[in-house]
Every structure is written in structure tokens, then in C-alpha cells.
């Protein structure tokens, strides 16, 4: 019966075969807040943000910077690109290097290193956070592709993401596996909320592992890192957004495979962190500049989106940089000192948006 249903769905384009994308409406109604945010700096390769309540830390390439007085002061340098950082309550910091190793720098656990969990080496550790009980939580995006090749995992229909917990004294354990890309994790009570990017949803997993329960599903984009907001709730970055064309290509195995084999990944029909750089990128109908204007509501190849979630995981409002903007591919957003700091990975920018600006922008 299910097979028949799948067959008829495929023929009629219904159910799983539907390529429809939820509209950006309600709490996701577009604005220009990210596009108009204050530009603090353009960095070499910004990747993640962390705060210990006193300072803001930025992972930039192989370095970790402490952001102060309008500039970055180098805190540490590593032998590979830093793919995620988080601050430990004891003043130390946990860092993912090259996606393959999690290290503790400073604090009581200085020098600790892990590079595997459940008998499987880390490949794409892309987000870190620390629970109140001192456990380190991490997501390992994919078994097959390092984190900079996330697009290969998406177009290859990867489902090998996992979430990992490292107890204060002990070895890493998997608390969730088989996720369709895991990118972003945040402790919520005894649970961990995980962004399951390719399924456009955020799931809650019990701290000790167990069945995943969707908290927020059917997002119009691919969720990524998740950080707590000061007034309760969370900031969820949505680093790329969905389009009907990509949904369609994901359901076209032959085209998808030939594209991955024959075409440079920069020019795939896929979401991207930035776009409009060259005519070799695929163009969709609504992208055509008419009378000198690119429509902001054109299908987004790249987009900037941060969603403010309530404490129970429902979207309250959102911040945008639309298709005609440049602050796209927001991978990290963290609240610090009364403002939201963001990394737009597309243009490699560090952005700042104060609470007042957000309130003013939403009222407008």
C-alpha cells in the first residue's frame, strides 16, 4: 500500500514528492534587519561565535579572536580551521579543529582531546555548546563530508549526522544518529535541541540519548546553530533557504548525480552561502533583472535569516537579508552585551544588531 502511495505521489507530485516550500509569512515575514545591521568587520574565514558573558569570541580561520574595542585580539591559533567554539563555565573554551577533533583550551580541562565517538571518528563537528551540568554537546554533521563540503552532503541526500555528548569526566557518547545533517545544538533543560538541517526541523533529544521529538518543523530553510536568547527562547540561524527548484532537483536522481559528477560545485543547482558572483551560477526565472532591479522575493539561492524562537520552540519573529542583499549565509548568531552578533559567512562579515534596532525594525 505504501509503495503504491509513493508511486502515485511521485506521479502526481504529492506527499513526499511535493516540491512546495512553506511561505515566509507570519513570524517569518521578511524585513531588512540583517541587511541593515552594523558591519563590524570583514574577516578571513569567520565560522562561529561564543561568549562567556564577558567577552565575545570569534572563530576566524585557524584562529580564535576575542572581540574588543572594535577589533579582534588573537586568543589561540590551531593547526587547522576552527569549525566551532563554545565557552566553558570555568573560563576555558572548547574548540572543534578541522571538524575532526574537539579540544579543550584553558580552564580545568586544558589539553583534553577527543576525535571519535561510538567507534566512529569525527568528520564534520560543526557546533558546540555546554550544558549546565558541564557536559559538552556537539553535532557531527556528516560521516561522508567535512563541514565545508556540506553542499555535497545535501545534494547526496546525506543522513549520517549525529549529536554527541561528552560528560565532564568520560568519553564522548552518541545521543542521536542517522540525522539528515546535524548542524547546531543547544541544551534545553535535560534535553538537547538539535538542528536537523536537511529535514528543515529542530528536534529535541533526551540528554542521555533516545527518540528524537520534533520541536519545530517545516521551516522554509535549513536550520543551523542555535543559541539561547537573554529573555528566554533561542536564536536559530537558518544558513540557507529552500527553493522549489532545489527541492525538485533533490527528487531528480539522474540530474542530481550527473550534476554532482560533471559540474563544478560552485555552479550546482543548490543553495549557497552567497550568490550572484558569476553568470555561471544557475539562474531562475524571477532572478532576471527587470528595469535594473533584482526582485527581493526571487527564489533565494542564498539568503540571510535568523529566527527568534520562544522558549517552547515556536518562531516569534525573524531577521532577514533578502535576495537583493548581501549579508547572506548567517551561520552564527549570539546575544552578547545587549546586542545580537552574527556571522554572515557569504560575505565573511561580522555583524551587530542592538536590541533597540531589532525592536525598531520590527515595529516599522
Amino acid at each position: 500500500m505504501q509503495a503504491l502511495r509513493n508511486l502515485s505521489d511521485r506521479f502526481l507530485g504529492r506527499g513526499e514528492a511535493a516540491i512546495t516550500v512553506p511561505p515566509m509569512d507570519g513570524a517569518l515575514k521578511p524585513n531588512r534587519l540583517i541587511e541593515d545591521a552594523e558591519l563590524l568587520a570583514t574577516l578571513d574565514a569567520p565560522e562561529d561565535l561564543a561568549t562567556d558573558g564577558k567577552s565575545l569570541y570569534v572563530a576566524d580561520g585557524k584562529r580564535v579572536l576575542r572581540w574588543q574595542d572594535g577589533g579582534g585580539a588573537e586568543v589561540a591559533t590551531f593547526d587547522g580551521p576552527v569549525t566551532a567554539i563554545a565557552c566553558l563555565p570555568d573560563g576555558g573554551m572548547v574548540v572543534a579543529v578541522d571538524g575532526r577533533e574537539i579540544r579543550v583550551v584553558g580552564g580545568n580541562g586544558d589539553g583534553k582531546r577527543w576525535n571519535a565517538a561510538g567507534g566512529r571518528p569525527f568528520v564534520a563537528v560543526n557546533a558546540l555548546s555546554v550544558a549546565e551540568d558541564g557536559r559538552i554537546l556537539a553535532t557531527d554533521g556528516s560521516r561522508d563530508h567535512p563541514s565545508e563540503r556540506w553542499c555535497h552532503d545535501l545534494m547526496g541526500l546525506g543522513r549520517s549526522g549525529r549529536a554527541i555528548a561528552i560528560p565532564p569526566a568520560g568519553e564522548p557518547v552518541e545521543i542521536a544518529a542517522g540525522l539528515e545533517y546535524a548542524f547546531g545544538i543547544c541544551p534545553v533543560g535535560s534535553d538537547a535541541w538539535i538542528s536537523e538541517s536537511w529535514r528543515h526541523r529542530v528536534v529535541a533529544v533526551p540528554g542521555g540519548g533516545g527518540k528524537a521529538r520534533p520541536v519545530l518543523a517545516r521551516l522554509p530553510g535549513y536550520p543551523s546553530r542555535l543559541t539561547p536568547a537573554s529573555e528566554g527562547g533561542f536564536w536559530l540561524t537558518v544558513f540557507i533557504t529552500r527553493t522549489q527548484l532545489v527541492e525538485f532537483v533533490l527528487r531528480e536522481p539522474q540530474y542530481r548525480k550527473r550534476m554532482m559528477k560533471e559540474i563544478d560545485p560552485r555552479y550546482w543547482v543548490s543553495p549557497a552561502l552567497n550568490s550572484g558572483n558569476t553568470f555561471l551560477e544557475p539562474l531562475q526565472g524571477a532572478h532576471i533583472k527587470t528595469m535594473g532591479i533584482l526582485k527581493p522575493w526571487a527564489p533565494p539561492r542564498s539568503y540571510g535569516l535568523v529566527v527568534r524562537l520562544s522558549a517552547d520552540g515556536l518562531p516569534r519573529y525573524s531577521l532577514h537579508s533578502r535576495v537583493d542583499g548581501t549579508n547572506h549565509g548567517v551561520v552564527a548568531a549570539i546575544e552578547h552585551d545587549g546586542a545580537l552578533y552574527m556571522i554572515a559567512k557569504g560575505p565573511k562579515r561580522l555583524l551587530r544588531l542592538s536590541q533597540q534596532e531589532i525592536e525598531r525594525g520590527l515595529r516599522a
Binding site: Q244, Y255, Y267, G276, F279, G292, A298
Partner: protein, 705 residues
């Protein structure tokens, strides 16, 4: 390997024909005809002597009798009603004819018209009630069905013995019933004659058009001044007359007034009409459909009778067919446009060789640069959609706009402008002839001419229809660019014959040779198609030899040459192929070469999709047009090439910041003027080292006196 199969499959299987055939109105008749042929074939295999002359003649008689009534029903259905009383009217007129002949012994020439008049009167009751009093057709004719039937039953109770006893001594009366001309029953001849008249009536005469119009939309018909009530009433009268005609022939053939005559006839007739494809909703039907439906139903019922199937089963089969036909009718009418639009788009296999590099460090003439970044903008925000730009010998700058105007900018600074002429359609390519007539291709309209006195004249909007084409390709759909030969002949491209101008992306999705080059000769005022099967032919330029044109195939990514004169006359030769972008207009340059506008650039994802027609077909069905993978026309460039097809230089505006999209360019006195169909400006670029006195008009037609 599988690529080869795909290529052959799409090369030889004409996918595009299915949609074109389905969008023809005659396909709706085609389906019942096919059913008729199948039914006829199956029954001829099943029954012995199915095609024996005697059987055929008998079938023809019955078919004609019922056929008259189906015509009446068809008329009523086309006008948007229904006539259930046909069976009772048939019985009553049958009785009336027999009463006149057998009992009153009238002569045939009086009895037949009297019977037809009687039928008209019966029909008029329906007509007046439904047409003028606007009662519901279904209820009204149901009531008249009962009343007429009751009257018939009362009358035969009184007169059946008298009729049976009477014996009209009339050879004409017998001839009506059983006579034959060259072995063909007389009734069949009358039927065919009536069918021919009916066809002409419905398709060529005013009342026929009125009937269809009322059935299509009663309110619109009323608003356009059609006498709706009278026309409807007359349709019911006609139905009565046609029933009477059937009754007359039936009376003359069998001379019987049995109690079951005409019982259930309305179902048979209705089934025939619906099965033939006459829509229950009105506004859609033809004589052919009525004839085909009649034949199918009669063949089935007759064969059931000869197979000794009980009468009840016979009726059930009829009813079953009726409901099936009605369902198909309604579903088809509702979904016709959706089905056609899904089937019509038929992508082809379009294999492009590997994309040549245009990288800034590629070391070729294509290497990207930012030369066009600083072009001046003329008419910024004032002109919309100047596809082509043209300068005359007095330095006036002409350009089209999407409001259907030709705009003239005045020299020297081109800040002042006026509407030179209003045409109404989107102007595309433009050229001056020797006598200062401005010829313009208008998308959706054809080739137009603006005289020096600013009078707008149509030059041509049609060409010869090609026999092999299913769609009517005689009308011009998308005349695109033109140039004028020395003898005044105008060669212009028509980008596609399958789509309208705003549907150009669909043509790009198909990437089939849907376009052609057409020649208009103003000396003889004739038009003919010169070359066909081109992939979106676009820019056209008379080559310097004066015997050939260079033309660009936008989705073929190539420039070709066509000789219209000289030793190579009729030949087509490739000048440039596998261009990295989509070529548009071609024009002369001052140094003896050619300028070519690239409206957009190729991207690998679309190149791959062009090799996968199935993928594109599904995309067309499932993805909205705004989300389709498109040819990238946000970035373009201008190149200069020589007679041999070598690219000499290229001018770019990367990212299209200042001048997105370039569809045309024209060199004039040291400047290059740039047009773009989706732009709100005309670009002007200073050419270094170009002839400061170059005027294209002078080069073509000689210096002005």
C-alpha cells in the same frame, strides 16, 4: 550510451505534435470517430453479414430517422438546453402523418408539410415556455414528454384500427418509406443533405453562430445584442420539426401506431449526442459529432438486438454509455486547458559542446573585463524595454518601448525625447530602408513600417503556411529582428512559431528549432519563409557581400550565414558555434567587422539540463515558471567578430551593475549605443579609435545629399 538513446529518441519522436494536435478543436470529434471505427470493426468481426447491403440499408434508414432527432437534440444542447420530449413528439407526429394519410387520405404533398408544421407547433410549446418564459428546460420538456405521450395514448386508442384499416394509394408515400436512388435509401439522402446544410448552418451562418454563442455564455450573447430568447425558442421549434421529419419517414416505412413507439427514445438520442461529443453544458457541438454519435449508438443497440440480448439489458447498456460519456465530457471540458498546457511543452535533446572559458585570465578575446561599467545612461528611468536602438543620418536615436511606442531621442545630448510613433505592440528590431522608411518588427504583430511622415503601416503579418506543420504557422508570432537587402527585400527572423513573445522562456526550455527566417518583398508585397527549423533565430545583418545574411540563433548559441542570392543561393553555413552565451542582434562596425550582442551567458547547470529533456519536461510540469532554471540573461556582453567568425574583442559589464542585459548595439560616430529588452535605459559607450564619422545609414544607402 544512454545519452545516444535519449538523443535519437528525441530526434525522431515528434513529442511536440501531441500538444499541437490536442489543442486543435477537431480532436474532440476525433475521439468519437475512433470509437465509431473500433465499434464498427469489432461488431463486423462479431456478427455475420454486418456489412451486407440489405442490413446496411436498413441500418441507414434507422440511423437517419433517429439522426434527424439527434440533430434537433444537438441544436437544443448547443444552445444550452435539453429536450426530453423528442420521443413523444416523434410518436405524436408519426400518428399525425398516418392519420392524415390513412384516415383523411390527404395527398402526400399536403400531409408532409402539415406534419412538419404540427411538429413545429409541438416544439413551439417548449420553445415559448423555455425561451420566453424562461422555465427550466429539463422540467418543461419532461412535462411535455408526459403530456404528448398521454395525448398519443388517447389518440391511438381511438384511431389505431382506422389507421390499420386505411391504405393510402400513393407511390410517393411508399417511395418515402422504402424507395432507393442508386441503391441508397431516399431517407439517407435527405439525411446527408440535411447534415451538410446543418454543418454550413452551424459553422458559416449567423444564426448558427448565435446558437453557439448563447450556449457558450448566455449573458455575453445577450450583451452583444443577440436575440437570446427568440433563438432559444427557435431551437426547440427546430427540434420539433426534426422529430416530425423522423416521424414522417417512420410512418411511411412502417405505418404503425404501436404503444411503444418513441418510448425511451430520448435516452437513445441523448446518448448519441453526448457520445458524439456534444457538451451537456452547451456551446460546444457540431453536426459531425451528432452523426458519429448516432452511428455508434445505433450500431451498438442493433447488434445487441441481433445478439438476442433482452431489451432491459439493452437499455442498461445505453444508460451506462450515457453516464460514461457524460462524465468524460464534463471532466474533459474542465481539464482540457490544463491537460494541453501540460502536454504542449515538449523539450528536445540539445547537446552543447563544452562551455568555452571566458575567465579574465583565459587569454582569449572573450576574457571578461569591465569596459562597459562606465557607459552613460540615456533616458534612464524614462524609457522601458528598448530592445533595439537605431540612429538615422541626422543623429536622431530611435528605440522601442514596451508601451508600444517608438521613442526618438534628440541629439546632441539625447536628453530630450518624444514619442515618434505609436504602434501598440512591443517594438523589437528596427532598420531604415533606402527611402527613410523605418521598418520595425513588432512582437505578436508582425512587420510594420513607419513612413517619413510618421504614418504607421502594416508591412506583413503572415507568411506561407507550411504543410507539415500542425499548428497554423502562417501568422507571425514573434517577429524579432530584420535587415534590408540592396534590392529592398526585408529579411526578418521569427524566433518561435509555437509560443507568444512573453513565453520565450518556454521556447528556451524546449530548445527546439521552432523559429524561422522570413523574407518580405515590398516590391511585390509578398512574404515567404526562407529558412525554418532554427533555434530562436534573433539578430539579422546583411553581410558585406550583399548576397547573404548573418543571423544569430539565440538558443543554438551560434551565428550562421544564409545566402539569398549569388552562386550559393539557398545555402546555410555556420559562422560561429558553441558560443559561451546567447547571441542576439548583429550589426556592422566601422572597421568592416560585425558587432554581436550577447543577451546572456551559458551556465553549466542549464547546459546539462539541455541534454536531459525528461528532466526539463518534469520541471515544466511541476515547477512554476518563476522558479525554472533559466538562461542567464542578467549578464551579457558585446563582441566584435570578422567575416571568418573570429572573435576580435569583447566588452563586458560584469554583474550587470550599470547595464544589465544587452540585446542590441549600434555604432554611430565613434560611440556604441546599447539596448536591452528588460532595461530602463540606453547605454552609450565611447569606442576608442573608432571612425568618428561612421554612420550606418550612409554605409548602407549612400551619403545623404
Amino acid at each position: 550510451m544512454s545519452d545516444t538513446i535519449t538523443r535519437l529518441r528525441y530526434k525522431y519522436w515528434p513529442d511536440h505534435l501531441l500538444g499541437e494536435i490536442l489543442s486543435k478543436r477537431w480532436t474532440e470529434t476525433g475521439v468519437p470517430v475512433i470509437v465509431l471505427l473500433v465499434v464498427g470493426f469489432v461488431l463486423s468481426q462479431l456478427l455475420d453479414g454486418f456489412f451486407a447491403p440489405a442490413i446496411l440499408a436498413d441500418t441507414a434508414r434507422q440511423a437517419s430517422e433517429i439522426g434527424f432527432i439527434v440533430f434537433g437534440m444537438a441544436l437544443v444542447m448547443i444552445v444550452g438546453g435539453i429536450d426530453l420530449s423528442v420521443g413523444s413528439m416523434f410518436a405524436l407526429t408519426n400518428f399525425f402523418a398516418l392519420y392524415l394519410m390513412h384516415v383523411l387520405a390527404w395527398p402526400v404533398f399536403a400531409a408532409v408539410p402539415a406534419t412538419l408544421l404540427f411538429g413545429a407547433a409541438l416544439g413551439a410549446v417548449n420553445g415559448i415556455l423555455i425561451g420566453y418564459f424562461r422555465l427550466r428546460a429539463f422540467i418543461t420538456t419532461l412535462i411535455t414528454l408526459i403530456i404528448y405521450r398521454a395525448a398519443y395514448d388517447l389518440l391511438i386508442f381511438d384511431y389505431s384500427t382506422q389507421i390499420a384499416a386505411g391504405f393510402p394509394d400513393s407511390a410517393v408515400w411508399d417511395f418515402l418509406g422504402l424507395g432507393e436512388v442508386f441503391g441508397i435509401p431516399i431517407i439517407a439522402i435527405v439525411y446527408v443533405a440535411l447534415a451538410i446544410f446543418g454543418h454550413i448552418f452551424l459553422t458559416r451562418l449567423r444564426p448558427g453562430w448565435h446558437i453557439t454563442a448563447i450556449g457558450g455564455s448566455r449573458r455575453s450573447a445577450y450583451n452583444s445584442g443577440i436575440a437570446v430568447r427568440r433563438t432559444i425558442a427557435m431551437c426547440y421549434v427546430a427540434s420539433g420539426v426534426l422529430s416530425a421529419l423522423g416521424g414522417v419517414f417512420f410512418a411511411s416505412r412502417l405505418a404503425t401506431v404501436g404503444g411503444d413507439i418513441g418510448v425511451g427514445l430520448e435516452v437513445l438520442v441523448l446518448t448519441a449526442a453526448v457520445l458524439g461529443g456534444i457538451s451537456l453544458g452547451g456551446g460546444n457541438g457540431s453536426v459531425t459529432k451528432a452523426v458519429v454519435g448516432t452511428l455508434i449508438v445505433l450500431l451498438i443497440t442493433n447488434s445487441l438486438v441481433s445478439l438476442s440480448v433482452p431489451g432491459g439489458v439493452n437499455r442498461m447498456v445505453l444508460a451506462g454509455i450515457l453516464i460514461l460519456a457524460a462524465v468524460i465530457d464534463i471532466r474533459w471540458l474542465k481539464n482540457r486547458h490544463r491537460i494541453i498546457s501540460k502536454v504542449y511543452v515538449a523539450p528536445s535533446y540539445h547537446d552543447m559542446p563544452e562551455l568555452p572559458s571566458t575567465a579574465p585570465d583565459s587569454g582569449t578575446a572573450w576574457a571578461q573585463n569591465d569596459k562597459l561599467r562606465n557607459v552613460d545612461a540615456i533616458g534612464l528611468g524614462e524609457i522601458e524595454a528598448p530592445e533595439d536602438v537605431l540612429l538615422d543620418r541626422h543623429d536622431n536615436l530611435f528605440a522601442g518601448s514596451r508601451h508600444g511606442d517608438i521613442i526618438r531621442f534628440f541629439p546632441p545630448d539625447y536628453k530630450r525625447w518624444e514619442v515618434y510613433a505609436h504602434i501598440g505592440g512591443q517594438p523589437l528590431g528596427m532598420a531604415f530602408d533606402r527611402n527613410d522608411n523605418l521598418y520595425v518588427c513588432i512582437g505578436g504583430m508582425g512587420l510594420y513600417r513607419i513612413t517619413p511622415e510618421r504614418k504607421v503601416e502594416k508591412a506583413t503579418d503572415e507568411t506561407n503556411r507550411s504543410w507539415a506543420s500542425v499548428t497554423d504557422d502562417s501568422r507571425l508570432r514573434l517577429a524579432d529582428d530584420l535587415d534590408i537587402a540592396d534590392d529592398g527585400r526585408i529579411f526578418f527572423s521569427e524566433a518561435t512559431v509555437r509560443y507568444e513573445m512573453h513565453e520565450w522562456p518556454v521556447d528556451g526550455l524546449e530548445a527546439r528549432g521552432n523559429g524561422r527566417i522570413i523574407c518580405y518583398d515590398p516590391n511585390t508585397n509578398t512574404t515567404h519563409t526562407a529558412v525554418r527549423g532554427l533555434k530562436f533565430p534573433n539578430g539579422i545583418c546583411i553581410a558585406k557581400d550583399g548576397q547573404s545574411i548573418l543571423f544569430a540563433e539565440t538558443f543554438g548559441c551560434s551565428v550562421k550565414r544564409y545566402w539569398f542570392d549569388g552562386p550559393n543561393k539557398g545555402k546555410v553555413e555556420i559562422v560561429m558555434e558553441n558560443l559561451p552565451g546567447y547571441p542576439d542582434n548583429i550589426n556592422l562596425s566601422s572597421d568592416g567587422h560585425y558587432w554581436l550582442a550577447m543577451v546572456g551567458m551559458r551556465c553549466p547547470a542549464l547546459d546539462l539540463a539541455w541534454r536531459m529533456p525528461g528532466f526539463r519536461k518534469r520541471m515544466a510540469k511541476r515547477v512554476p515558471v518563476d522558479e525554472w532554471l533559466f538562461p542567464n540573461i542578467n549578464t551579457g556582453c558585446v563582441i566584435k567578430f570578422n567575416e571568418q567568425g573570429e572573435v576580435l574583442e569583447s566588452l563586458w559589464d560584469l554583474g550587470g551593475v550599470n547595464h544589465p542585459m544587452i540585446t542590441s548595439m549600434r555604432e554611430h560616430k565613434g560611440y556604441l549605443y546599447l539596448g536591452g529588452i528588460l532595461n530602463n535605459r540606453i547605454g552609450r559607450y565611447k569606442l576608442e579609435g573608432a571612425d568618428p564619422n561612421f554612420v550606418q545609414y550612409d554605409l548602407r544607402w549612400g551619403k545623404a545629399k
